[in-house]
Amino acid sequence: MKPFDYQRATDTDTAVATVSRNPNARYLGGGTNLVDHMKLGVSSPELLVDVSRLSSDTVETLPDGGVRVGAAVRNSDLAAEPIIRQRYPVLAHALLAGASGQLRNLATTGGNLLQRTRCVYFQDVTTPCNKREPGTGCSALDGYTRYHAVLGSSEHCVATHPSDMAVALTALDAVVHTQGPSGPRSIPVADLHRLPGDEPDRDTVLEHGELITAVDLPALPMAARSNYRKVRDRASYAFALVSVAAAVDIAGDTIRDVRIAFGGLAHKPWRATLAENALRGAPATEATFRTAADAELAEARPLSDNEFKIPMARNTLTSVLRDLTQQEGS
């Protein structure tokens, strides 16, 4: 760990200008991932600009019925917010499935979205990694891949995105608001994270210096019937082998509409549009659920240690949809 400067930002414009003009500056939110990386030598910023007191830490209802979550809202607070628990249970469940109580008390909404992969080779500076040092090679490809991707990976990187919250936000069609060197913009969460391609060092589409200021949840009545299911190697404090975020709108026995995203399968939260298309208008039966899962997973390409993720993803999606469609109607 090398010495670094620390500044507490007082306004967004100054913070963005400060980080934008220094390629070795980083924003600091809860620090639950970045500080670890600094200790491990994965990241060696010269300057940290603390934005945890800068962005909004409130959750507010928007005129169109949606909800705006400030980027500095802590994960614990967001999970406990009544409006989130009532209208977007999938998000509350996903937040509570992540990390530990202590980490959730620190982690922010913006920072959670930008956490980096837990690939053991990325986190170990003594092993090659294209994401950490482009061009050095991917150690995971022929290495330990239990937690790695089966969808959308490349020969350069097979890492997965570790966030639970982001999987729920992807299913909910949430939108990220940013302030960057080129001004403000809005990005659907589904488009925020990238597939690795030949630039695995770029996790997201954000420019250097671009700051997440808020996340908007659309008014989505069907999200009241939603859930997040995380399958992992122990009951708490472990990253997903496979996770499923789903919301269902059901009329009688027919699925009118559905939102599905997978975690633990790809370099980004994986919106399961093929599965959604297979389910819309279909009867809510075990066979339909499995067919839909298979449609999404047809392109999956497992590695040596993670072939199980394909049946596990199919079974977990089936399990979640069974539970959601058998619930008393809302």
């Binding site: 010495p3 837990r118 053991v120 150690s139 399958v231 122990r234 009951a235 708490s236 199980f308 596990m312």
Partner: protein, 693 residues
């Protein structure tokens, strides 16, 4: 018979005497010892598994403000002995495993030391290494002995003939993975070298062991090495013998003579420097008649050691004593690899060695159509199968029967995969536990400071087990005084020499020494002895070991739930019933038992060191990736015991209990997982993917 101490304080659930100081943060652990003018050490570790250092560039590191010195093999003081190659740090340019200590930065702050260590540039000539364990390796060899001094192989009767003659046989292979002790307190040392005297505040299981091991390595008279370890935050064997970091700290202290050197391993560093349990490959063969009586039991083990130093885990040894079978064979074969040095981890031998056979017994019981509890009872030996000696006491069957009653075993439908509750498949399993009752040699001194003040000195250690409390109880009964009159002092080489806290020998060894000292005091100075009287006692050889085989036993029961869709596995309930002689302190004993069982749950479901053979290191080397159970994984774990009167083991009638709680726990869980799902798992850990359907 050994003359028994009349229990008065012994057997009472005295609260931990050190509990208050621990929960208030005032109990001094090694790294927290307040020293003046401290320096901090951060090591440089090899990033290749085998080869030679060709160049070291320390210029950039040395240029940092606050760096005092940087030690490498080029400039480090020479050691007096390099016979123990694990401890021979910085003596050659040779790299023998990835993560080996190849340098040390000593600086004014830990931050500077760590930063500078990252700036030391090392060039290597890298050689091809070997880090893959397989039973197919052509270079497997038979060690001269297995830990600590058991024969590597035994062969009685004719297993092959019994196997071909028997109506029911089983020949299967089980594996346990690379595992790490991971005590909560990392390995830490504060070393001060001053005028040919070395003081070590160390996190160790044995202050005197550190002294006697380190003295010849660094070439100091043992009397000039002073070790202090009053409180230790767990060891599980990894602090049983000093590892290389202590020698590195001593070398650094010698280099900055007069200034203390503080060195705490990071969690990641512990994965290459603090020992581990070898992976094991266990072939088990059983033969039985249709009534489930075993005619043959063979246990053939393949495991690894390090080319640096041999450690041969005695994995097949418990199979020599557990069940009656006229034809028995055990063997150990080792692969010497370019890996860090394996060492003791809670119940070395018994812990991995009771996994394979106890799952095999479950498989045999099913094949014979006999309840697994009953199957074990039918194979209860009359005498120790290995030596032919009677047992000083043995209540394995009683533990199994008592456990079955308490656990509700009799309501069980033996058919696998026959019970589902709300989407979870439910099953139960059982396994036996065994651990030898051993003792070492220690000396205690007792001095009468006042009529109500007996000072008891012994260099024993409390690694979180309750030694402070239990030895006080033993001393009180030996002296026939209330516990409040006993002033126990442990954890220092300034006290009479004591054995390591290992092999579940602590209370038996130290307690016997204290009883000897108390009797000497009373014999010499009468009752009550006069103020100022003093006497010493040393643990004698126990002549009863010539007549009796001595073991503690137990039965472990587990309930397992497996999610029908996802394969997630949970253990809502475990029960252990043990027979371990007289229990000194029910409160601390219960903690020891359930702690061992929890570690067994961890072994069953979570722990695996993933060694990437290309690099030669464990890639999941932190607590985010190397899993141990969280609170959410640990359900209702309970332990109880049978009153067992054994006048032969020692004056307290007590057997060691630090390790038996882990023995058999993983097998009970694996057997329950089979009962729940019908899927037989012979490889640990058991993870959801293995149970997916």
């Amino acid at each position: 018979m050994t003359s028994q101490v009349t229990p008065y304080a012994i057997g009472t659930a005295l609260q931990r005497l050190d509990g208050r100081s621990k929960v208030t943060g005032t109990a001094p652990y090694a790294f927290e010892r307040v020293v003046d003018n401290a320096t901090y050490l951060h090591p440089v570790q090899a990033t290749i598994a085998l080869g030679q250092i060709t160049a070291i560039d320390t210029a950039e590191a040395e240029a940092l403000d606050g760096v005092i010195t940087i030690l490498t093999h080029v400039n480090a003081p020479r050691l007096a002995s390099t016979e123990d190659r694990e401890l021979a740090v910085l003596q050659t340019d040779r790299v023998s495993f990835r993560g080996q200590l190849i340098g040390a930065v000593i600086a004014d702050t830990p931050e500077t030391a760590r930063q500078a260590a990252g700036l030391v540039r090392i060039s290597y000539a890298q050689w091809p290494h070997e880090a893959e364990l397989s039973s197919e390796r052509s270079d497997l060899y038979t060690p001269e002995a297995v830990n600590p001094s058991f024969p590597a192989d035994t062969d009685e009767g004719d297993v092959d003939t019994a196997m071909s003659a028997a109506p029911v046989t089983l020949d299967t292979t089980y594996t346990t993975p690379l595992e790490y002790n991971n005590p909560m307190e990392p390995h830490t040392t504060v070393a001060l070298w001053n005028d040919h005297e070395l003081t070590l505040y160390d996190s160790t299981q044995g202050a005197h062991t550190v002294r006697t091991t380190v003295a010849p390595v660094i070439g100091l008279d043992p009397e000039r090495i002073h070790v202090s370890a009053p409180h230790v935050g767990g060891g599980f064997g990894s602090k049983g013998i000093p590892h290389a970091h202590i020698v590195l700290a001593a070398l650094a202290a010698r280099t900055v003579e007069g200034r203390p050197v503080k060195f705490a391993l990071t969690r990641q560093q512990m994965f290459s420097l603090a020992g581990h349990r070898t992976p094991t490959i266990q072939r088990v063969r059983l033969a039985a008649d249709t009534d489930g009586r075993l005619s043959a039991l063979a246990h053939d083990v393949v495991e690894w050691t390090s080319k640096v130093k041999e450690f041969a885990e005695q994995t097949a040894v418990p199979s020599r004593n557990v069940y009656a079978a006229p034809n028995r064979r055990t063997s150990h074969r080792l692969a010497a690899l370019d890996v860090p040095v394996p060492s003791w981890m809670r119940a070395p031998g018994e812990c991995p060695g009771m996994f394979g056979p106890e799952v095999a017994v479950d498989e045999m019981a099913l094949k014979c159509g006999i309840d697994p509890v009953e199957f074990r009872a039918r194979n209860e030996p009359d005498v120790d199968p290995e030596t032919g000696k009677p047992f000083s006491s043995r209540h394995l069957v009683e533990c199994l029967r008592e456990g079955a009653d308490r656990f509700g075993w009799h309501h069980r439908d033996p058919t696998p995969a026959s019970r589902t509750e709300r989407g979870w498949l439910v099953g139960t399993g059982v396994a036996s536990s065994i651990y030898p009752t051993l003792r070492a040699v220690s000396t205690a001194t007792i001095r009468v400071e006042a009529a109500d003040h007996y000072r008891v000195d012994i260099g024993a250690t409390d690694i979180g087990t309750g030694t402070w409390t239990a030895l006080t109880q033993i001393a009180a009964d030996a002296l026939e005084v209330p516990v409040g009159h006993v002033d126990l002092r442990i954890g220092e080489t300034a006290q009479p020499e004591a054995s390591v806290a290992g092999g579940s020998t602590g209370n038996a060894t130290w307690g016997t020494a204290i009883v000897e000292a108390a009797r000497a005091l009373q014999d010499t100075h009468g009752r009550p002895p006069e103020i100022g009287a003093e006497a010493s006692g040393t643990t004698p050889n126990n002549p009863e070991t010539e007549r009796f085989a001595m073991f503690a036993h137990g039965a472990q029961f587990a309930e397992v739930r497996v999610h029908a869709d996802t394969g997630e596995i949970r253990v809502p309930r475990m029960l252990g019933v043990f027979a371990a002689g007289r229990i000194i302190n029910p409160r601390t004993a219960h903690s020891q038992f359930i702690g061992g069982m929890t570690m067994g749950l961890s072994m069953a479901l979570h722990e695996v060191g993933v060694l990437d053979t290309r690099f030669g290191h464990v890639v999941n080397h932190d607590f985010a990736e190397y899993h141990i159970p969280t609170n959410a994984d640990v359900g209702d774990i309970d332990a109880t015991w049978i009153d067992e009167d054994d006048p032969y083991v020692n004056p307290m009638g007590a057997k060691g209990i630090g390790e038996i709680g882990i023995v058999g726990a993983a097998a009970a869980i694996a057997n329950a997982a089979h009962h729940a799902t019908g899927i037989r798992l012979r490889e640990l850990p058991i993870t959801p993917d293995a149970l997916l359907r």
